[in-house]
Each structure stands twice: as structure tokens, then as C-alpha cells.
């Protein structure tokens, strides 16, 4: 907005534009193919369960995530059918619903088979009850339900969730690739880490968009993105990139960080972190065309 000589600017009518609802946006399951993330303490995810066989299966799953968390995270598993008392719904994703529990707790239910979790405020332990039906689908339960519980627990130590992928290109720039929901299914999980300027901790990889022999992909645990690319698959013959304003980029980032809605006390910090990320990087909406896969440097040339 242009300033006048006395510092006053022409008045523009205040406006409000609804971007979208986050109710239909899912948290992706945590992938097992993740780089190790360095931290001060060699903490881990610990499974507690009286049933040794169940504990062994779930501990193997937890170990496969290779998360070295700043503090220990405990999933305390009981076998049963009792659901905790829940109040209002906080957030729904396919198969998993989060509720407000008693005294500020977060509760979650798996809808595929009876399973529930209670996360007391500030605690790094989730109390989880799995029914026999859930035990019969233990791998699915771990990937979908327990993975969603971990996302909420890790948020409490400042690891905020964002669905995307990251790479460092051959030119040295850090790339954060965010797929528009429902378009590129190979979405991966990231966490933004508090206390650093928009720093991203890589938790998973998967999209082939900028991977290739010339790209040092996924080898670094921490990348400060210089470029945010919001990708979709186009029908054109050539890949296209359109620059986005920071505000537009932030609106799109929120779509990939729907967990921002869970736990009010953490929402402002999560939102501020996404804002920093949108401010620090140049952002582009990218429509991918098949030619990109035969000319890997095409995207970098577009955003040079």
C-alpha cells in the first residue's frame, strides 16, 4: 500500500476471506523410512503392555520409526474395550477422531476397530486401550491410530506436524515440497521444530518430484527451506511455476498442517511457526508435467 508524505495511507475497506475448512484434511500415517533426527537426549518411543507379544510387535513398529525424541514418549497399552469419556469433537481424520476429554485431556478413538487413547494435559504418556478387534489388525492400528497419537504427543515437545517432503537441491537450496491434499498421495511427514527459525526436521520421504542422481535427497535431517513448492499434477506438457505471496503460501501450509487445530494451547505457536516458514522462503504453486521426470533440473530452472 502506497504511503503518503505524512505517513498516512489511503484507507482500504477491511476484508475477510474464508480459505477453507480443515475438517477433511488428514494427518498422514508416520512413515517408517525416516532419517534419524539428532537430539540432546537419546530418547525414544517406549511401549508398555502387559501382553508381551503385543508389546514386542508395537515396540518393533515404534523402533522402525527411528525417532530420537527430545524426551521419552510412552504408549501405555491395555487390552480391553473401555472408552474414556469424551466431550466435544476436536478433529477428525479418516479413521481417527480426536475429542476433548476430562480436565483438558485429549482423547482419540480409532473407528476401524475399537481402540481409544487418553492424553492427559502436558503428559508425554498416552494411555491406550485396544480391543481384540484392534489387536487382530495390529499393524494397521499402529500405522494409523498410534501414529496419529504420536503426532499429538510430539507436538507437546515442539515437533509440529506438516505433511510434505524436503530436499536440498544441487544448487544448495532447501526445498519444502507440499502436495495439495488429495493430489499427490506419496505425501510425507515433517515436523517443524520450535525454537529455530522455521527449521524443518525431516521425518519421512517419498515423493520423487525432485529426487534423482543430482539431488542430495533426504540425506540431511535439518533443512531450512529456501523454496516452498505447492505441487499438483497438471495436464499440460510443460511444468509451470507461479510465484505466491507469503500470505497465500501460509494459507496453503495450513492445509497441510491440520493438526494445528488440536490442543488450543499449542495452536498459536504452531501457527506462528508456519508463518515464519512462509516468510523465510520464496513460494511457488507448481503444476507438474511428465517432462519433469525426464528433465530433473526443469523445476530448478523455473524457480531460479
Amino acid at each position: 500500500m502506497e504511503k503518503r508524505s505524512n505517513g498516512m495511507r489511503p484507507f482500504v475497506e477491511p476484508s475477510l476471506k474464508k480459505e477453507t475448512s480443515l475438517e477433511d484434511v488428514a494427518l498422514a500415517p508416520l512413515a517408517s523410512d525416516v532419517p534419524s533426527v539428532a537430539s540432546a537426549a537419546d530418547a525414544a518411543i517406549r511401549i508398555q503392555c502387559a501382553d508381551n507379544a503385543v508389546r514386542a510387535v508395537l515396540q518393533a513398529w515404534a523402533d522402525s520409526l527411528r525417532l530420537r525424541t527430545p524426551v521419552a514418549v510412552v504408549l501405555d497399552i491395555a487390552i480391553g474395550t473401555e472408552y474414556p469419556e469424551c466431550e466435544g469433537m476436536l478433529f477428525r481424520q479418516p479413521g481417527v477422531v480426536f475429542y476433548t476429554g476430562r480436565r483438558g485431556a485429549v482423547c482419540a478413538r480409532w473407528e476401524t476397530a475399537r481402540a481409544s487413547a487418553t492424553l492427559e494435559p502436558g503428559s508425554m504418556t498416552a494411555s491406550i486401550t485396544l480391543s481384540s478387534a484392534a489387536l487382530a489388525r495390529l499393524d494397521e492400528c499402529a500405522g494409523v491410530f498410534l501414529g496419529a497419537i504420536l503426532v499429538v504427543l510430539l507436538r507437546r515437545v515442539g515437533w509440529h506436524y506438516l505433511q510434505g517432503a524436503i530436499a536440498r537441491g544441487p544448487e544448495g537450496r532447501g526445498w519444502l515440497i507440499v502436495d495439495e491434499p488429495g493430489v499427490v498421495k506419496s505425501a510425507t511427514a515433517l515436523f517443524l521444530r520450535e525454537g529455530r527459525r522455521g527449521r524443518v526436521v525431516v521425518m519421512a520421504a517419498g515423493t520423487p518430484i525432485v529426487s534423482g542422481p543430482d539431488v542430495d535427497t533426504w540425506s540431511e535431517g535439518l533443512i531450512d527451506p529456501d523454496v516452498l513448492a505447492f505441487v499438483s499434477v497438471g495436464t499440460n506438457t510443460a511444468t509451470r511455476a507461479e510465484a505466491l505471496a507469503s500470505r497465500e503460501a501460509l494459507a496453503l501450509l495450513i492445509r497441510s498442517a491440520a493438526g494445528v487445530m488440536i490442543e488450543r494451547a499449542l495452536a498459536q505457536g504452531h501457527l506462528d511457526l508456519l508463518g515464519r516458514l512462509a516468510r523465510q522462503a520464496r513460494s511457488f504453486r507448481v503444476q507438474l508435467a511428465p517432462e519433469l521426470f525426464t528433465r530433473l533440473d526443469g523445476l530448478q530452472e523455473l524457480i531460479a
Partner: protein, 91 residues
Amino acid sequence: MSAYYQRHPGLRLTSVEDEGIVLQLDTHSYYSVNETGLLILEALRQPRSADQLVDALLERYVATPEYARECILRFLATCHGSQLVVRLDAA
């Protein structure tokens, strides 16, 4: 008698390049606001009347008070309908 307005408790707000992104945690919706809308929502950390908002905006922008007030009331009504602001008891 003039109504006072304040941010809804479910509102979270952050700014980028003089514009804002607003989350409504209860309705799971989010919005973008322009520069003047951001200024109003930032001012509504504390209860404010429409007249107080007019004064705040006219410290920075050029407009007639009548036009500014009309625009602000329209914006407040939109925000109220979206559960972004609450209308408090008249003082």
C-alpha cells in the same frame, strides 16, 4: 450506548506481509484478512467499540470517519457471523 467487540476465544491470528491468517479452532475454519482487517483483529485483543476502532484506523489511514465506521461495522458483522469476534454487553 455502544457495543464493544473482542476476539472470539477460539481465534488464533498470525501476520505475513501486513496481511493476516486467522484460525477459528471451534469451527475448524481459517480465513485471510487484509491489512486493515488485521489491524482491527489485532486491536480486538482488548474490548473495543466501533468508534474506538475508527479512531485507531484513522491514525494510520486517510478516510472520512463515516466511511471508515461503515466499513468497520460491516467487517465486524462478517467476523461475528464467522465466530471470529464476540459482541460484548453495551457499555
